[in-house]
């Protein structure tokens, strides 16, 4: 029997650390070669770490939410044969860092396992050492549930009747884990426990980790550093909608269905060509605006894991169909969590849209360090006065925010008005300058 240490592999170019977001294995579990051990997150890409060997887990190098340096021990296995650790030379485990360490730390050793990012592989069910609850009726009528005072208090605070909670411990004792499982199973079969109007005095602690933490960090940076100016204008998209419907009706089968987004992107590209400083990254520490020639448009997308911003690169080089294809491809990838790192970074301006949920006005938060974000609100048919009569028109608002340090209100207004003019006369979008 030997011990095999798996260190956190180099999970990406220039990445010195990664956050532990999920353990797929428990201590004591036996794993096969290539079985996924853990998932770590760098910036915005999640990487699964497979086991290069077969063995039994004897040690785990941190808890969910810990930030580990590349090369620090991640997991230890007991393996047949010698393993990769000589007795007495066990590497000192680097303490997981809770705060962001210096970016400069270089991994000291080459990792043992080549990182691989299985794309289509089904995630294995997390292994636990918990036995499955046996029956729906945990104990005989009138029998008191066996649980420690701490478990009883937790149940009381959550308004749960412990008599209904199956216990997996000796003598049917209900552990904290049993309570967790019961809560996760939504009260085992969803049978009502007394009145629905029970006081719930529980307070659940939800650790802010993974993508949620990244979003939180980015949002507070954006809001604390950028003085936002938000400008809302309504756009008559009746003509655009007619055109869009016609294009969709007559499109070839291999072309994607057009949404409003590709039109907006093309309109933005045109507007940017007249106001290139809105397509910028503002490095406020250095006091430099990096004005980009290419339009890399981030498209904020809601995914099951949270908000992600995949990037359509070089929108200026894509026609309306090209933009549509790229948006469709990226939003599918984002929803499935398969976006590559470089597909999630490098935008120079961002679009945010909640579709039908878009409301009439939003106050978008700029995707720091960009200087502008265009928000799309919902489309609705409204009466509009044409000078002699009311006509039903398809109206849609654009709510857009700008970094007021480097974009004046006048510039912002000109930009949005230009986009509006293009969307209201969609033929203009396709006219070369």
């Amino acid at each position: 029997m030997g011990e095999h240490v798996i260190k956190l592999p180099d999970v990406g170019e220039g990445v010195a650390e990664a956050e532990l977001v999920e353990w797929m294995v428990e201590i004591g579990a036996n794993v096969r070669e290539d079985e996924v051990l853990a998932a770590v997150m760098t910036d915005k890409a999640t990487v699964e770490i497979p086991s290069p060997v077969e063995g039994k887990i004897i040690w785990r190098g941190g808890t969910i939410g810990d930030v580990l340096s590349v090369g620090s021990p991640l997991i230890k296995l007991e393996v047949d044969g010698d393993g990769n650790v000589k007795p007495g030379t066990e590497p000192v485990a680097e303490a997981p860092k809770k705060t962001a360490p210096e970016k400069e730390t270089k991994p000291e050793q080459k990792p043992d396992a080549k990182p691989s990012v299985p794309k289509d592989e089904q995630k294995p069910e997390p292994k636990t050492n918990r036995a499955a609850p046996v029956s729906n009726v945990p104990r005989n009528e009138g029998e008191k549930p066996v649980a420690s005072p701490a478990v009883r208090k937790r149940a009381a605070e959550a308004g749960l009747d412990l008599r209904r909670v199956p216990g997996t411990g000796p003598a049917g004792r209900i552990s904290h884990q049993d309570l967790d499982a019961f809560v996760a199973a939504d009260g085992a079969g969803g049978m009502a426990t007394g009145s629905a109007y029970r006081r719930d005095t529980s307070v659940k602690e939800v650790p802010v980790i993974g993508l949620r933490r990244k979003i939180a960090e980015k949002m507070s940076i954006a809001k604390s550093r950028i003085p936002h100016i938000t400008y809302v204008e309504e756009v008559d998209v009746t003509a655009l909608e007619t055109l869009r419907a016609e294009l969709n009706a007559s499109r070839k089968d291999d072309r994607p269905k057009l949404t409003i987004l590709p039109f907006l992107m093309r309109a933005m590209v045109k507007a940017i060509s007249e106001q290139p400083h809105l397509n910028s990254i503002f490095d406020d520490e250095a006091g430099v605006i990096h004005q980009y020639g290419g339009c890399h448009i981030g498209v904020a997308a809601q995914t099951p894991n949270g908000l992600m911003v995949p990037v359509v690169r070089h929108a200026e080089a894509r026609d309306i169909w090209g933009c549509a294809e790229e948006v469709a491809r990226l939003s599918d990838a984002a929803r499935e969590g398969k976006c590559a790192r470089d597909e999630l970074s490098g935008s120079t301006i961002t679009i945010t849209s909640l579709g039908a949920m878009g409301g009439i006005v939003t106050t978008p938060v700029i995707n720091h360090p960009e200087v502008a974000i265009i928000g799309v609100n919902k489309m609705q048919t409204l009466p509009r006065w044409n000078g002699s009569e009311f006509l039903p028109r398809k109206m849609m608002n654009l709510s857009s925010s700008f970094d007021h340090r480097v974009v004046d209100g006048w510039d912002a207004a000109v930009f949005v008005q230009r986009i509006r003019a293009l969307l209201e006369n969609p033929a203009m979008i396709f006219i070369e300058n």
């Binding site: 008191k144 066996v146 649980a147 420690s148 005072p149 009883r152 009381a156 605070e157 308004g159 411990g169 000796p170 003598a171 049917g172 004792r173 209900i174 006081r199 005095t201």
Partner: protein, 462 residues
């Protein structure tokens, strides 16, 4: 007359009341506590604490007596003497320290204390009278924590040579002879203490056994000690009255007899204090002589809670404290119910008796199929070295899943083991949990380990 309003008013600063007040203070509840006599109630002033002080003094005196002349363990000493008035003064100093401490804790937690006797005007209003006048306190919530008082026998009221446990703790000298009516734990604790201080003690009990709450096996070591101390036990006899000569009784066979006694200590139990605080102005449901409460200590009236001895058996300070803490949290809006599995009961007799959870008989009566085993201190090294070989530890567990239902112990100093027993039961321990825990050697607690092993059929040291 001064008017006061508060969120919570607590009547009685005994262990239940003052703990409720401290916890309420911690939770930021505007709290007033009323006490007519002394902070700490019966427990600190005339109960648990002072009796343990006197018992300790009596134990030390007995030890010194044991060494007078010669002893097996090689200590020789001169014949000791006891100045009980000095012992009582020492005890009073301890009591004073503790009650002052309670006052300090209440103050620290921003609880307002009023001294005086409380009387309900209605369910939200209480008048507090003291020498200086009357306060009227209006409160959203009220906790009744009035406690209990020693029961008096109508045909021989306290006074002259008939004394209560309170009086017994303040005697200036041990009487030459003492008759005790009632062989419950209070009578025997004090009886043993006085016997050790040289008093000739006779205990009269109406039932046919001492310590009626405990089974024969558990009381046997105490009986043995009583005999060694020369305490006479008269079972099945009724007290009939008292005069200068002593206690008149009717024996089991119906004979009238007088037991010569300088002092007659009546310890026939304690009664909840349900009078003299305006209960007649409320509409409280009763449960026998106690105030009826639910599993949140709520009475039949909204906003009125009751805790401690006034709510029923077992009349124990630690039950009242746990209730007080719970009620304060309920008033603070927390979701609490009385869900305790066990309340340890401890007799500071010699040897001490502890019972937590169900006895074998109680468990059987509740329909459990059980295994029960004990481990005697005669086989425990530490007990031998302390000359405390009498007694045992016994575990009662379910036969099907080995869940520990009860633990009982008799022996020198076993009161301190009650924590381990109570923890085992509250945590839902099985016999395997006890046997899987390393118990330090050499300690009496090993007997707990061994009794559990024995219940599983593989005790090591017997």
């Amino acid at each position: 007359m001064k008017d006061l309003t508060c969120k919570l008013l607590i009547i009685g600063a005994g262990p239940g009341g003052y703990v409720a007040a401290i916890r309420a203070g911690q939770l930021g509840i505007d709290t007033v506590i009323v006490e007519g006599q002394y902070n700490g109630g019966t427990c600190l002033n005339v109960g648990c604490i002072p009796s343990k002080a006197i018992i300790h003094a009596a134990d030390e005196f007995e030890k010194a007596n044991h060494f007078a002349g010669d002893s097996e363990i090689g200590i020789k000493a001169a014949k000791p003497e006891i100045d009980l008035s000095k012992t009582v003064a020492w005890k009073d100093k301890i009591v004073n320290r503790l009650t002052t401490g309670v006052g300090g804790l209440l103050k620290k937690n921003k609880v307002r204390s009023i001294s005086g006797w409380a009387s309900f005007v209605d369910g939200k209003t209480v008048d507090v009278a003291n020498g200086e006048g009357t306060h009227r306190v209006r409160a959203e919530n009220i906790i009744i924590a009035t406690g209990s008082v020693p029961v008096e026998l109508p045909f021989m009221p306290f006074g002259d040579n008939v004394i209560s446990s309170t009086d017994a703790l303040a005697l200036s000298a041990p009487p030459k002879t003492m008759a005790i009516v009632g062989a419950g734990y209070i009578g025997l604790e004090l009886g043993i203490a006085f016997a050790k201080m040289g008093t000739k003690v006779t205990v009269v009990e109406a039932l046919d056994k001492i310590l009626p709450l405990y089974d024969k096996e558990m009381t046997r070591p105490v009986e043995k000690k009583l005999k060694a101390l020369g305490v006479e036990i008269v079972l099945g006899a009724k007290a009939k009255g008292a005069d200068k000569a002593g206690l008149k009784i009717e024996t089991k066979d119906g004979d009238a007899k007088t037991i010569k006694a300088e002092k007659i200590l009546v310890t026939v139990g304690r009664a909840p204090k349900t009078e003299d605080w305006g209960r007649e102005n409320l509409v409280l449901d009763m449960s026998g002589r106690f105030i009826k409460i639910d599993d949140q200590c709520k009475t039949s009236m909204r906003g009125i809670y009751a805790i401690g001895d006034v709510t029923g058996e077992p009349m124990l300070a630690h039950r009242a404290m746990a209730q007080g803490e719970m009620v304060a949290e309920i008033i603070a809006g927390e979701n609490r119910h009385w869900d305790k599995r066990a309340i340890a009961a401890v007799c500071f007799t010699d040897p001490e008796i502890v019972s937590v959870g169900l006895s074998a008989d109680e468990a059987k009566a509740e329909g459990f199929d059980i295994i029960s085993q004990n481990f005697p201190f005669t086989a425990n090294g530490r007990a031998m070295t302390m000359e405390a070989e009498d007694g045992f530890i016994r575990v009662v567990a379910r036969k099907d899943n080995h869940l520990v239902l009860g633990v009982q112990a008799v022996g020198g100093g076993v009161a301190e083991l009650s924590a381990a027993f109570a923890l085992a039961i509250e945590m839902g321990a099985t016999l395997e949990d006890i046997t899987g825990t390393i118990h330090a050697h050499p300690t009496q607690s090993e007997a707990f380990h061994e009794a559990s092993l024995r219940a599983l059929g593989h005790a090591l040291h017997i």
